[in-house]
């Protein structure tokens, strides 16, 4: 709450001066070298900051408009069988003053038999992965019993995690009351994930670096991380969009 309020105030103040003072760094021309010499500051060619500003603004405004249209409404939650006290309905009503509903909530739907893959009772993502590994390991297609043994091992791990989650129930409940959401740091104890740098939580302390990153991200006409196939490769199928956009 405190962070959001700070964000609100700072964003308002900064935005008010946005037209007078471009918010993104001045473009730094960098030769198209294939190796960045050690010690040289990173940088990429940037377009004029005014163009970046305009693009960010247009993108975010379109984003907000679509969000408002597509969010689950209070009425839809009520129709889904949720009482007046329900958190998601309460949030929805409060924020409805600004025509924005919580974006992260959807309704659980009954399973439509027409949409269901028939005769599949185990997650086929699991069995597909296990079948591939067993085929390599055994040198032949695995039997149903061999796949079932892998599935059982997965279920044993899930049962182990569920036991640990149940053991931490009081702690989780207390944190839920405090934060309003599931405490991920507790969950990480049994997930065996690589540790995350604690500094990661301090995002707003590094505005200058972020501004540089966002600027580069927005400067690309297509966007970063678009790995396109080389010439001569068969084109990947790109279906037509089905949503009027």
């Amino acid at each position: 709450m405190k962070t959001s309020y700070t964000l609100f105030v700072v964003a308002t103040l900064v935005s008010a001066s946005a037209f007078a003072d471009p918010l993104f760094p001045t473009p730094v021309p960098v030769p198209t070298a294939t190796t960045r010499p050690p010690g040289r500051p990173p940088g990429q060619p940037l377009p004029p900051s005014g163009a970046v500003d305009a693009r960010v603004r247009a993108k975010l405004q379109a984003y907000v408009r679509e969000k408002g249209l597509r969010a689950v409404t209070d009425a839809q939650f009520a129709a889904g069988g949720l009482s007046q006290e329900h958190d998601f309905r309460e949030q929805s009503q409060v924020i409805n003053g600004t025509r924005i509903s919580p974006f992260h909530a959807g309704k659980l739907n009954p399973v439509n038999p027409a949409d269901r893959r028939p005769n599949v009772n185990v997650d086929p993502g699991l069995t597909t992965v296990f079948r591939a590994s067993l085929t390599s390991r055994l040198g032949r297609p695995p039997t149903d019993a061999e796949i079932a043994a892998e599935v059982q091992a997965f279920d044993n791990r899930i049962a182990q995690q569920n036991t640990q989650m149940a053991a931490a129930k009081q702690e989780i409940a207390a944190r839920y009351r405090q934060d309003g959401e599931f405490p991920r740091d507790i969950e990480r104890r049994w997930m065996n994930v690589s540790p995350t740098d604690p500094e990661r939580a301090n995002v707003h302390a590094h505005q200058a670096e972020w501004a540089h990153i966002v600027s580069n991200l927005m400067a690309s006409s297509v966007g970063a991380d678009q790995t396109t196939p080389p010439p001569g490769e068969p084109p990947r199928p790109v279906p037509r969009p089905t949503f009027p956009h």
Binding site: R36, D197, Q226, T227
Partner: protein, 559 residues
């Protein structure tokens, strides 16, 4: 507010303990192939399937906040069944399920988090038209994350009663127009699939990461431990969303193993630019970063089948930009500033020969290479691994005897119990007992004239020089065939995925380019002597002519 809280303090709470059960479905994009199901390359055809590893929480709808009653991850059948308890001030708890796109494997799929003040700000912005270009606002849009939730209708919790919520699907109505809810459900499934693939090959997990599917930018793009996807990408480039998912997880792996967050902020601007697999004009830093992620993508989608000694399901790890599909060189595309070449170096080190022409020159393992021990018979069936067949005569348990029918065709085990004076006509106990002759588990019984036989089939072995391959953690062989410096075909060792990821972790922030990782980490591993007579690594330039020739086409820096 104070009065309400005070009232809470004196009101008797009604605590209830109950069991919650449900089965959760999510949309999966799989198509049938000759080797079983594989991900649908268009990522556009979905069917609901039981959803494994999803977190389900039971909560009680209350006035101030909704209480936590208990939670569990779904099992392989998408089912949860767990004990829950919560209390209400005056009534029985109104229990609902909160199914979150949170995986037991350590990631969350969701959306940008909108707090009250942000919503207020957005509302003002929408009405008045203020610009939203403040860096903080953009940063917050890109990095804040809320796990996607799908909530059920409420039911009253009763002591010692099972609340069965039945079958439910996440992702909303699939017949309706696409929504963020749909995107999140689809993204959860392919992310879970990719993570399962990685978990088969390595015990190393990436950082606990987020995948935000409604960002205003990102195609997708990884910001340290948060992957952001522009909604437009989901609308228009679904096939790319499929391909990109293990690639982005590869970035998360790399970011966590390479450095902390602040160092990534310094590296980040080098990564935030449009790039292509064989596009030139980029820093080697970008090429290494993307090439490594491409290697991880190749890992997730390839299907190595040892029984046929090749990749199946048409997906083959990339050979490099400097080599055409036919095997010819492309001199203009040589160098480690191309991410496709970095990808190819990693693929060659990890898989051995990748390029079809090179594999043909070395000669893939054929049926004739397999041998069987004496006393067994080689069995070659089209499309099947070579087997060695042996037979044996089944035997009966102790004190049983083999009997054959009059035609000599059907063998059985028989036991005639001695007469017992305690037996009566109403309760006979001395009747002869019969049972079929049984072979050992997995063997096949053959009815033949004379004594029946059992047939046992075992995999044939490969006695090529250098040893017999064993399985890596994911089942792929730890040896590959290649040419040595005398142009003789021999076996070479391959690293596991744990070893490959270990190179990133060991090098830390010291290196950012392929021509730094190669001399500092990869080449030392390739050049070392492996214990116990294990063959030389395939990537040893002083032993493997195949690898040396391949690298000479890709980059002069691999030396």
């Amino acid at each position: 507010m104070f009065i309400t809280i005070a009232a809470m303090g004196i009101a008797p709470a009604q605590a209830e303990q109950f069991t919650v059960s449900a089965r959760i479905f999510c949309p999966a994009a799989l198509v049938s192939s000759a080797i079983g199901d594989v991900p649908d390359s268009s990522f556009n055809r979905f069917q609901l399937v039981p959803c494994a590893g999803l977190r389900v929480t039971a909560r009680d709808s209350d006035t101030l906040f909704d209480e936590y009653c208990g939670s569990a991850y779904t099992n392989s059948r998408g089912e949860v069944r767990f004990s829950a308890d919560c209390s209400d001030l005056t009534n029985r708890p109104d229990v609902y399920l909160d199914v979150e796109a949170r995986s037991s494997l350590g990631f969350s799929v969701g959306v940008h988090h909108v707090s009250f003040f942000e919503a207020l700000w957005i509302g003002i912005e929408t009405i008045v038209g203020f610009p939203l270009t403040a860096p903080l606002a953009v940063i917050d849009y890109l990095t804040s994350h809320k796990t996607m939730s799908w909530v059920s209708a409420e039911r009253l919790g009763n002591n010692n009663v099972e609340l069965a919520f039945g079958d439910s699907a996440v992702g909303g109505d699939f017949a309706a127009a696409p929504t963020v809810s749909q995107f999140a459900a689809k993204q959860f499934w392919i992310t879970q699939y990719s993570m399962l693939r990685f978990s088969q090959g390595t015990s190393i997990r990436p950082m606990d990461f987020n995948y935000s599917v409604d960002a205003p930018m990102g195609v997708p793009t990884t910001l340290y431990d948060t992957v952001v996807v522009d909604e437009d990408e989901f609308f228009s480039k679904t096939a790319h969303i499929l391909q990109a998912t293990p690639h982005e997880i590869g970035h998360v792996y790399y970011n966590g193993l390479h450095s902390g967050f602040v160092h990534w902020l310094i590296d980040g601007p080098d990564y935030m630019t449009h790039h292509g697999q064989c596009e030139s004009g980029h820093f080697q830093t970008l090429a290494w970063y993307e090439g490594f992620a491409n290697f991880m993508k190749d890992y997730a989608f390839q299907h190595w089948d040892w029984s046929v000694g090749d990749w199946t399901a048409t997906y083959r790890p990339f050979r490099g930009c400097a080599i055409t599909a036919g095997g010819g060189p492309v001199p203009s595309q040589v160098g480690l500033h191309l991410e496709g070449n970095v990808q190819a170096v990693m693929n060659a080190v990890f898989y051995g020969p990748v390029r079809a022409a090179q594999r043909a020159a070395i000669g893939t393992v054929s049926e004739n290479d397999f041998v069987c021990p004496g006393g067994t018979r080689r069995v070659v069936s089209p499309g099947q691994p070579v087997k060695c067949e042996s037979t044996y005569t089944p035997s009966c348990p102790m004190r049983w005897e083999v009997r054959r029918d009059a035609q000599g065709l059907t063998d059985i085990c028989a036991q005639d119990l001695p007469e017992d004076p305690r037996c009566t006509p109403r309760e006979p106990c001395g009747r002869p007992r019969r049972q079929p002759l049984a072979c050992r588990a997995g063997d096949v019984a053959q009815r033949v004239r004379g004594a029946d036989r059992c047939t046992h089939l075992a995999n044939a072995t490969l006695p090529a020089s250098g040893g017999t391959p064993r399985a890596r953690p994911d089942g792929s062989p730890d040896l590959t065939l290649g040419h040595n410096l005398a142009s003789a075909r021999t076996w070479f060792s391959l690293p596991s995925l744990d070893i490959a990821l270990g190179w990133i972790r060991s090098e830390g922030t010291r290196s950012h380019r392929a021509n730094e990782f190669w001399p500092n980490q990869i080449r030392p591993w390739c050049g070392r002597s492996l214990p116990g007579g294990t063959p030389e690594p395939y990537c040893d330039l002083s032993a493997s002519a195949s690898f040396r020739d391949e690298m000479s086409l890709i980059s002069g820096d691999i030396r």
